[in-house]
Amino acid sequence: MTFEQLIFYILAAIAVISSLMMISVNNPVKAALWLVLAFIATAGVWITAQAEFLGIVLILVYAGAVMVLFLFVVMMLDINLVKLKEGFIRYLPIGVLAALGIFALMYMVLGPNNFGMDVTGEPVRFDANHSNTTMIGLALYTVHVYAFILAAVLLLVGIVAAIALTIRRRPPHEVKYQNIDKQVKTQARDRFEMIKMQPVKEKPVENKKEEDE
């Protein structure tokens, strides 16, 4: 076993174990943290497969941003842990059976018979200066420009959908909104008014009460 293979197996084992933990721990917050570990290990696997940019994006976007979202959702939902556990044991055999079945299928299709080294050939080994990011950049913004722009459309739809579904402005009588335009445009005369008025002589302060006291 070469050193690279050793690293691969360690990372793959971490990924598998942490995904198993992720689906079996009770606490959803802990599950999210196991998922982070699974993402990081997977990113490592991708980097060993020489897809460095994708590995880094996986950490940046998934382990960084998506996990924050997961945690918010977990906290937002106020999940009842006892209820969540109900039926776990009862459905476990079916779940294990389905998982094993899918594993067997995947092994048949993706296993060494169809995608072994002897079939696909040795992967190209890039030298130290090779940049995977450059390769992606060269293709993404020119050859795949249509898909690239569509990705922007997808993100835009994501923004619109998120806002349409969650924003709920309270009526103005409940909350005082700050109107910045109005504040900036305000002139001194809107705030401060000079009024001409006849001088009024103040009545002398009544001293009676003081005397009373």
């Binding site: 980097i47 990011t133 993404l140 969650t166």
Partner: protein, 118 residues
């Protein structure tokens, strides 16, 4: 290419050791005599009144999802910045279109008041 990552690997392994080592040492070496009273939760000396978990406002979620979208946009900018010399004007314009679509989204969320808390 992979040899460039060797320092990072060493760094990760050392980092894990530094993080896990003290925890393990305190777990093994420190005296550990739990009893029912020590393990029971308390709030300022009282029994806890309610569950410590509470619902979060949905607005946190909105902020998080808007952040993710712009975070993804940044992820698209990295390779673009590296190859800008080679992809020329066409690449520049394709990124301009990409960004302008997200600016449309930005104007929309600004106008909708999604960036304001209240």
């Amino acid at each position: 290419m992979l040899e460039n990552y060797l320092p990072i690997l060493v760094f990760v392994v050392l980092g894990v050791l530094f993080g896990v080592g003290p925890l393990l040492m305190s777990f093994v070496l420190a005296p550990n005599k739990p009893d029912a009273e020590k393990n029971s939760p308390y709030e300022c000396g009282f029994e806890p009144f309610e569950d410590s978990r509470m619902k979060f406002d949905v607005r946190f979620y909105l902020v998080a999802i808007l952040f993710i979208i712009f975070d993804l946009e940044i992820a698209f900018l990295f390779p673009w910045a590296i190859v800008l010399d080679e992809i020329g004007l066409f690449g520049l314009l394709s990124m301009a279109v990409f960004l302008s679509l997200l600016v449309v989204g930005f104007i929309y969320e600004w106008r909708k008041g999604a960036l304001e808390w209240e």
